[in-house]
């Protein structure tokens, strides 16, 4: 499924994560995957609550990090796409 600004994601139930000095360590036990996410990716990860759309998350990122809204949108969608491919996210709607 193609991600768009209206897509709503949530974290996969299997994942375990912890913030360490501003970076998220995300573990997918079933596949033995351990990921380290940079600061902005970690913020996106924290904002994934199963209610906010990708577009709403991008707006928050643009505001907090003072980046152009379109750049924030592109980066957010790319991050969410990569996380989906790693089975760390699921699409709510």
């Amino acid at each position: 499924m193609k991600q768009s600004a209206g897509t709503v994601f949530s974290r996969s139930e299997n994942t375990v994560y912890r913030m360490v000095d501003g970076e998220a360590v995300i573990v997918e036990p079933l596949y033995g995957l351990v990921n380290v996410i940079n600061e902005i990716g970690s913020r996106i990860w924290e904002l994934l609550d199963g209610k906010r759309s990708a577009g709403r998350i991008a707006e928050i990122i643009a505001s907090e990090y003072e980046v152009h809204p379109q750049v924030a949108m592109d980066d957010t969608l790319q991050f969410l796409s990569e996380m989906s491919e790693k089975k760390l996210l699921k699409i709510e709607r």
Binding site: Y17, R18, V20, D21, E23, V25, P29, V34, N35, V36
Partner: protein, 266 residues
């Protein structure tokens, strides 16, 4: 007539195991990598060791604890609550098989007491532990070979435990190519060094998240949904208390110059 039991106490990672050998020939002949524990210290657990499977099954009354299987080489269990365990050796090299089982028992004890086992070599230098970790083949034994100024507490497994506010390290000695050390810990931790083979020798500090993720990935056999959260919390705290580095090294001792240089500048 009930056969005689021979008891021997060994220690590792701050724990003492009282080994009760039901086979006197095995007790006299087997050489274990763990130092002997002298004195009347109360053991952390008592482990019964059998070589006769039928006798073992007759004596075994496991009501608590967990089974520990050794892929056809041994069958055993450990009951941490009641501080007891048992193993039957099923044939092969009894020294290696028994050492393997006992390492797993020590691992369970360490995990239960705010600690974990790291797949890494533990080298003691000036009273501090330098822990070189990485996947099999990353170069742990090579790093040991080029460290003449160090006591090699272990070339493969290191136990780390939090005692009070600080973490301490013990090497878990292994039977193999390096002599069994007299002292294997506890030591304060000079640093964790993730090994990368590279013609160019270099070192750089890595973030707590990167360090925790790297060490967690080495725990693949122990990663279960039940323990992963606890392990992640522990590793994050550990990375917060001890410096972590990525060390690119080749087969010579020059990596120690890099380590000394970066430690001297911190």
């Amino acid at each position: 007539m009930k056969p005689r039991t021979i008891t021997r106490n060994i220690k590792a990672a701050g724990f003492t195991l009282s080994l009760c050998f039901k086979d006197t020939n095995l007790a006299c002949g087997v050489k274990l990598p763990f130092p002997c524990s002298a004195g009347a210290r109360t053991p952390s657990a008592i482990i019964e060791i059998y070589t006769d499977e039928i006798e073992y099954l007759a004596e075994l009354h496991v009501t608590n604890g967990m089974a520990i299987s050794g892929e056809g080489e041994y069958e055993g269990y450990f009951d941490i609550r009641n501080k007891k365990g048992g193993v039957v050796l099923l044939g092969g090299n009894n020294e290696f098989i028994l050492a393997n089982f006992l390492t797993r028992v020590f691992s369970l004890l360490v995990s239960a007491r705010s600690g974990l086992m790291i797949h890494g070599a533990c080298l003691i230098r000036n009273g501090q532990a330098y822990i070189f970790h990485g996947v099999s083949g990353a170069g742990k034994s090579t790093a040991c070979s080029f460290s003449p100024d160090c006591a090699i507490a272990s070339d493969d497994i290191t136990a780390v435990r939090k005692l009070g506010r600080r973490y301490l390290a013990w090497g878990i000695p292994q039977l193999g190519r390096f002599p069994i050390p007299e002292k294997h810990g506890p030591c304060t931790i000079a640093g964790f060094f993730r090994l990368i083979k590279d013609p160019e020798v270099s070192i750089h500090r890595i973030s707590g998240a990167q360090a925790a993720a790297g060490m967690l990935a080495l725990q693949e056999k122990q990663l279960t949904p039940q323990n992963i959260r606890k392990m992640l919390v522990l590793l994050a705290d550990l990375a917060d208390h001890a410096p972590c580095y990525e060390l690119h090294f080749r087969k010579d001792a020059t990596f120690w110059h890099c380590i000394d240089k970066i430690k001297g500048s911190e």
